[in-house]
Protein backbone atom coordinates (compact mmCIF):
# COMPACT_ATOMS: atom_id res chain seq x y z
CA UNK A 1 0.00 0.00 0.00
CA UNK A 2 1.29 3.44 -0.82
CA UNK A 3 1.37 6.00 1.93
CA UNK A 4 0.67 9.58 0.92
CA UNK A 5 3.71 11.80 0.63
CA UNK A 6 3.49 15.53 1.07
CA UNK A 7 6.34 17.35 -0.54
CA UNK A 8 7.67 20.75 0.48
CA UNK A 9 10.26 22.85 -1.24
CA UNK A 10 11.39 20.25 -3.76
CA UNK A 11 14.22 21.36 -5.99
CA UNK A 12 14.72 19.56 -9.25
CA UNK A 13 17.87 21.26 -10.58
CA UNK A 14 16.68 21.32 -14.15
CA UNK A 15 15.22 17.84 -14.23
CA UNK A 16 11.83 17.59 -15.81
CA UNK A 17 9.75 15.79 -13.25
CA UNK A 18 6.37 16.82 -14.44
CA UNK A 19 5.48 13.31 -15.45
CA UNK A 20 6.90 11.71 -12.37
CA UNK A 21 4.40 10.97 -9.69
CA UNK A 22 4.26 8.51 -6.91
CA UNK A 23 5.26 5.09 -8.00
CA UNK A 24 4.25 1.74 -6.87
CA UNK A 25 7.45 -0.16 -6.48
CA UNK A 26 7.23 -3.74 -7.52
CA UNK A 27 8.17 -6.61 -5.24
CA UNK A 28 11.60 -7.43 -6.69
CA UNK A 29 12.93 -3.91 -6.43
CA UNK A 30 11.48 -3.53 -2.98
CA UNK A 31 13.22 -6.67 -1.76
CA UNK A 32 16.53 -5.73 -3.35
CA UNK A 33 16.42 -2.30 -1.69
CA UNK A 34 15.58 -3.84 1.65
CA UNK A 35 18.51 -6.24 1.52
CA UNK A 36 20.98 -3.63 0.28
CA UNK A 37 19.87 -1.10 2.86
CA UNK A 38 20.19 -3.54 5.74
CA UNK A 39 23.62 -4.67 4.59
CA UNK A 40 24.80 -1.09 4.26
CA UNK A 41 23.40 -0.19 7.65
CA UNK A 42 25.08 -3.14 9.32
CA UNK A 43 28.39 -2.42 7.63
CA UNK A 44 28.21 1.21 8.66
CA UNK A 45 27.57 0.33 12.28
CA UNK A 46 30.52 -2.05 12.37
CA UNK A 47 32.98 0.20 10.56
CA UNK A 48 31.96 3.52 12.19
CA UNK A 49 34.08 3.24 15.36
CA UNK A 50 37.27 2.52 13.39
CA UNK A 51 37.33 5.28 10.82
CA UNK A 52 37.70 9.03 11.13
CA UNK A 53 34.33 10.75 11.01
CA UNK A 54 32.70 7.42 11.62
CA UNK A 55 29.66 8.89 13.30
CA UNK A 56 28.92 10.94 10.22
CA UNK A 57 29.27 7.90 8.01
CA UNK A 58 27.06 5.93 10.34
CA UNK A 59 24.40 8.61 10.26
CA UNK A 60 24.59 8.62 6.49
CA UNK A 61 24.24 4.88 6.07
CA UNK A 62 21.45 4.78 8.63
CA UNK A 63 19.73 7.26 6.38
CA UNK A 64 20.23 4.82 3.55
CA UNK A 65 18.59 2.08 5.59
CA UNK A 66 15.65 4.34 6.20
CA UNK A 67 15.54 5.07 2.51
CA UNK A 68 15.51 1.36 1.84
CA UNK A 69 12.64 0.92 4.28
CA UNK A 70 10.75 3.65 2.53
CA UNK A 71 11.44 1.97 -0.78
CA UNK A 72 10.23 -1.34 0.52
CA UNK A 73 6.96 0.30 1.50
CA UNK A 74 6.73 1.81 -1.94
CA UNK A 75 6.91 5.35 -0.62
CA UNK A 76 9.46 6.46 -3.14
CA UNK A 77 9.29 9.60 -5.07
CA UNK A 78 11.58 10.78 -7.80
CA UNK A 79 12.46 13.86 -5.83
CA UNK A 80 12.88 12.25 -2.47
CA UNK A 81 16.47 12.43 -1.37
CA UNK A 82 18.91 9.57 -1.49
CA UNK A 83 19.74 9.67 2.15
CA UNK A 84 23.42 9.39 2.82
CA UNK A 85 24.38 11.02 -0.41
CA UNK A 86 25.10 14.15 1.50
CA UNK A 87 25.35 17.25 -0.60
CA UNK A 88 23.71 15.60 -3.56
CA UNK A 89 20.35 15.87 -1.90
CA UNK A 90 18.24 17.78 -4.29
CA UNK A 91 15.09 17.96 -2.27
CA UNK A 92 13.32 16.35 0.60
CA UNK A 93 10.04 14.90 1.52
CA UNK A 94 8.29 14.66 4.79
CA UNK A 95 5.63 12.25 5.93
CA UNK A 96 6.35 8.59 5.55
CA UNK A 97 9.41 9.02 3.36
CA UNK A 98 10.69 12.00 5.36
CA UNK A 99 12.88 9.80 7.50
CA UNK A 100 15.01 9.22 4.47
CA UNK A 101 15.96 12.90 4.35
CA UNK A 102 18.08 12.96 7.47
CA UNK A 103 21.55 12.95 5.98
CA UNK A 104 23.82 15.43 7.70
CA UNK A 105 24.75 18.04 5.15
CA UNK A 106 21.67 17.41 3.16
CA UNK A 107 19.67 18.23 6.26
CA UNK A 108 21.48 21.50 6.83
CA UNK A 109 21.22 22.41 3.21
CA UNK A 110 17.53 21.74 3.07
CA UNK A 111 16.88 23.44 6.38
CA UNK A 112 18.59 26.59 5.18
CA UNK A 113 16.79 26.29 1.91
CA UNK A 114 13.49 26.02 3.72
CA UNK A 115 14.23 29.08 5.86
CA UNK A 116 15.14 31.00 2.75
CA UNK A 117 12.14 29.80 0.79
CA UNK A 118 9.62 30.45 3.52
CA UNK A 119 10.67 34.05 4.17
CA UNK A 120 11.50 34.86 0.59
CA UNK A 121 15.10 35.72 1.52
CA UNK A 122 18.30 34.38 0.08
CA UNK A 123 21.51 33.58 1.91
CA UNK A 124 23.02 36.96 1.04
CA UNK A 125 19.97 38.74 2.41
CA UNK A 126 20.28 36.76 5.61
CA UNK A 127 23.98 37.64 5.91
CA UNK A 128 23.30 41.30 5.24
CA UNK A 129 20.57 41.28 7.85
CA UNK A 130 22.92 39.63 10.34
CA UNK A 131 25.56 42.30 9.67
CA UNK A 132 23.01 45.08 10.08
CA UNK A 133 21.83 43.63 13.39
CA UNK A 134 25.44 43.30 14.56
CA UNK A 135 26.15 46.92 13.63
CA UNK A 136 23.04 48.11 15.43
CA UNK A 137 23.99 46.12 18.53
CA UNK A 138 27.39 47.83 18.60
CA UNK A 139 25.81 51.26 18.26
CA UNK A 140 23.34 50.48 21.01
CA UNK A 141 26.17 49.29 23.23
CA UNK A 142 28.12 52.51 22.61
CA UNK A 143 25.09 54.62 23.53
CA UNK A 144 24.44 52.50 26.57
CA UNK A 145 28.04 53.04 27.71
CA UNK A 146 27.66 56.81 27.27
CA UNK A 147 24.41 56.84 29.28
CA UNK A 148 25.98 54.88 32.12
CA UNK A 149 29.15 57.00 32.12
CA UNK A 150 27.07 60.19 32.06
CA UNK A 151 25.09 59.05 35.08
CA UNK A 152 28.24 58.05 36.98
CA UNK A 153 29.90 61.38 36.19
CA UNK A 154 26.84 63.37 37.29
CA UNK A 155 26.63 61.44 40.55
CA UNK A 156 30.34 62.01 41.09
CA UNK A 157 29.87 65.75 40.60
CA UNK A 158 27.00 65.70 43.11
CA UNK A 159 29.18 63.91 45.66
CA UNK A 160 32.03 66.36 45.23
CA UNK A 161 30.15 69.65 45.28
CA UNK A 162 31.48 72.13 47.81
CA UNK A 163 30.21 75.52 48.84
Amino acid sequence: MTAPISRIGVRTYGMDTSDVGRRQVDGKFSNAMKVAGRALGAAGSVVAPFIPGGSVVKAAVMGASAFASAASRGDLNANAPMAGTAGMTAGYADGAAGTAGTSLTGGIETTMGTAGDSSGMGMMDMLNLQLAVQRETLQYQALSNVAKARHDAAMNSVRNIKG
Binding site: N145, A149, A153, K162
Partner: protein, 134 residues
Amino acid sequence: MTRSERGLVHISNEDLRLLMETGYLYFHMNRLDEAREVFEGLVPLAPNSDAPHVALALLHYGQSRHEQAEQAFRAGLEINPKSAFALANFGDFLFFHGRNAEAMDALNRAIDIDPNGPDGKLAQSLLDAYSDRI
Protein backbone atom coordinates in the same frame (compact mmCIF):
# COMPACT_ATOMS: atom_id res chain seq x y z
CA MET B 1 37.20 82.91 53.85
CA THR B 2 35.26 86.00 52.75
CA ARG B 3 31.50 86.10 52.46
CA SER B 4 31.64 86.15 48.65
CA GLU B 5 34.00 83.14 48.55
CA ARG B 6 31.70 81.25 50.84
CA GLY B 7 28.54 82.37 49.08
CA LEU B 8 25.78 84.69 50.18
CA VAL B 9 24.26 82.15 52.45
CA HIS B 10 26.37 79.55 54.12
CA ILE B 11 25.09 76.10 53.48
CA SER B 12 26.68 72.81 54.38
CA ASN B 13 28.16 70.56 51.71
CA GLU B 14 25.69 67.86 52.67
CA ASP B 15 22.78 70.21 51.93
CA LEU B 16 24.39 71.22 48.66
CA ARG B 17 24.67 67.59 47.67
CA LEU B 18 21.04 67.06 48.57
CA LEU B 19 19.96 70.04 46.50
CA MET B 20 22.06 68.96 43.52
CA GLU B 21 20.58 65.51 43.68
CA THR B 22 17.10 67.00 43.88
CA GLY B 23 17.83 69.04 40.78
CA TYR B 24 18.96 65.96 38.87
CA LEU B 25 15.91 64.04 40.08
CA TYR B 26 13.63 66.76 38.73
CA PHE B 27 15.65 66.73 35.52
CA HIS B 28 15.22 62.99 35.04
CA MET B 29 11.55 63.21 35.96
CA ASN B 30 11.23 65.71 33.12
CA ARG B 31 10.14 68.41 35.56
CA LEU B 32 12.48 70.81 33.89
CA ASP B 33 11.21 74.09 35.35
CA GLU B 34 11.74 72.83 38.88
CA ALA B 35 15.16 71.46 37.94
CA ARG B 36 16.17 74.79 36.48
CA GLU B 37 15.01 76.59 39.59
CA VAL B 38 17.10 74.33 41.81
CA PHE B 39 20.24 74.58 39.68
CA GLU B 40 19.95 78.35 39.29
CA GLY B 41 19.50 78.61 43.05
CA LEU B 42 22.62 76.53 43.58
CA VAL B 43 24.84 78.85 41.54
CA PRO B 44 25.12 81.54 44.26
CA LEU B 45 25.07 78.91 47.00
CA ALA B 46 28.15 77.20 45.60
CA PRO B 47 30.03 79.97 43.81
CA ASN B 48 33.27 77.99 43.69
CA SER B 49 31.81 74.91 42.09
CA ASP B 50 31.33 74.29 38.40
CA ALA B 51 28.74 71.56 39.04
CA PRO B 52 25.59 73.74 39.09
CA HIS B 53 26.71 75.50 35.90
CA VAL B 54 27.28 72.22 34.11
CA ALA B 55 23.93 70.91 35.33
CA LEU B 56 22.26 74.07 34.03
CA ALA B 57 24.14 73.71 30.75
CA LEU B 58 22.88 70.13 30.39
CA LEU B 59 19.36 71.33 31.10
CA HIS B 60 19.57 74.04 28.43
CA TYR B 61 21.20 71.60 26.01
CA GLY B 62 18.40 69.09 26.61
CA GLN B 63 15.85 71.78 25.78
CA SER B 64 17.73 72.89 22.66
CA ARG B 65 18.69 76.27 24.13
CA HIS B 66 22.15 75.92 22.72
CA GLU B 67 23.46 79.43 23.26
CA GLN B 68 22.53 79.41 26.92
CA ALA B 69 23.99 75.93 27.22
CA GLU B 70 27.33 77.08 25.85
CA GLN B 71 27.34 80.10 28.15
CA ALA B 72 26.70 77.86 31.15
CA PHE B 73 29.46 75.44 30.10
CA ARG B 74 31.88 78.33 29.74
CA ALA B 75 30.83 79.78 33.10
CA GLY B 76 31.58 76.41 34.71
CA LEU B 77 34.94 76.15 32.97
CA GLU B 78 35.79 79.69 34.04
CA ILE B 79 35.35 78.68 37.68
CA ASN B 80 37.30 75.46 37.22
CA PRO B 81 39.20 75.19 33.92
CA LYS B 82 40.39 71.73 34.93
CA SER B 83 36.94 70.32 35.53
CA ALA B 84 36.93 67.01 33.68
CA PHE B 85 33.15 66.80 34.18
CA ALA B 86 32.58 70.15 32.45
CA LEU B 87 35.06 69.34 29.68
CA ALA B 88 33.54 65.92 28.95
CA ASN B 89 30.00 67.30 28.73
CA PHE B 90 31.16 70.31 26.75
CA GLY B 91 32.89 67.92 24.34
CA ASP B 92 29.58 66.14 23.79
CA PHE B 93 27.90 69.48 23.15
CA LEU B 94 30.58 70.49 20.65
CA PHE B 95 30.36 67.15 18.81
CA PHE B 96 26.62 67.66 18.51
CA HIS B 97 27.26 70.97 16.77
CA GLY B 98 29.84 69.47 14.42
CA ARG B 99 32.73 71.33 16.04
CA ASN B 100 34.75 68.15 16.02
CA ALA B 101 38.23 69.60 16.54
CA GLU B 102 37.16 71.55 19.62
CA ALA B 103 35.22 68.54 20.86
CA MET B 104 38.23 66.26 20.49
CA ASP B 105 40.37 68.77 22.34
CA ALA B 106 37.89 69.05 25.23
CA LEU B 107 37.43 65.27 25.51
CA ASN B 108 41.15 64.55 25.38
CA ARG B 109 41.76 67.14 28.09
CA ALA B 110 39.06 65.50 30.22
CA ILE B 111 40.76 62.11 29.77
CA ASP B 112 44.16 63.59 30.68
CA ILE B 113 42.76 65.20 33.83
CA ASP B 114 40.74 62.20 35.02
CA PRO B 115 42.06 59.12 33.21
CA ASN B 116 40.53 56.50 35.50
CA GLY B 117 37.64 58.40 37.02
CA PRO B 118 34.01 58.68 35.89
CA ASP B 119 34.61 61.91 33.97
CA GLY B 120 37.46 60.42 31.97
CA LYS B 121 35.33 57.37 31.30
CA LEU B 122 32.51 59.58 30.08
CA ALA B 123 34.91 61.37 27.74
CA GLN B 124 36.29 58.04 26.49
CA SER B 125 32.83 56.58 25.91
CA LEU B 126 31.87 59.70 23.97
CA LEU B 127 34.99 59.39 21.84
CA ASP B 128 34.09 55.74 21.17
CA ALA B 129 30.50 56.60 20.29
CA TYR B 130 31.55 59.39 17.93
CA SER B 131 34.46 57.41 16.47
CA ASP B 132 32.73 57.04 13.09
CA ARG B 133 32.49 60.82 12.82
CA ILE B 134 36.08 61.52 13.73
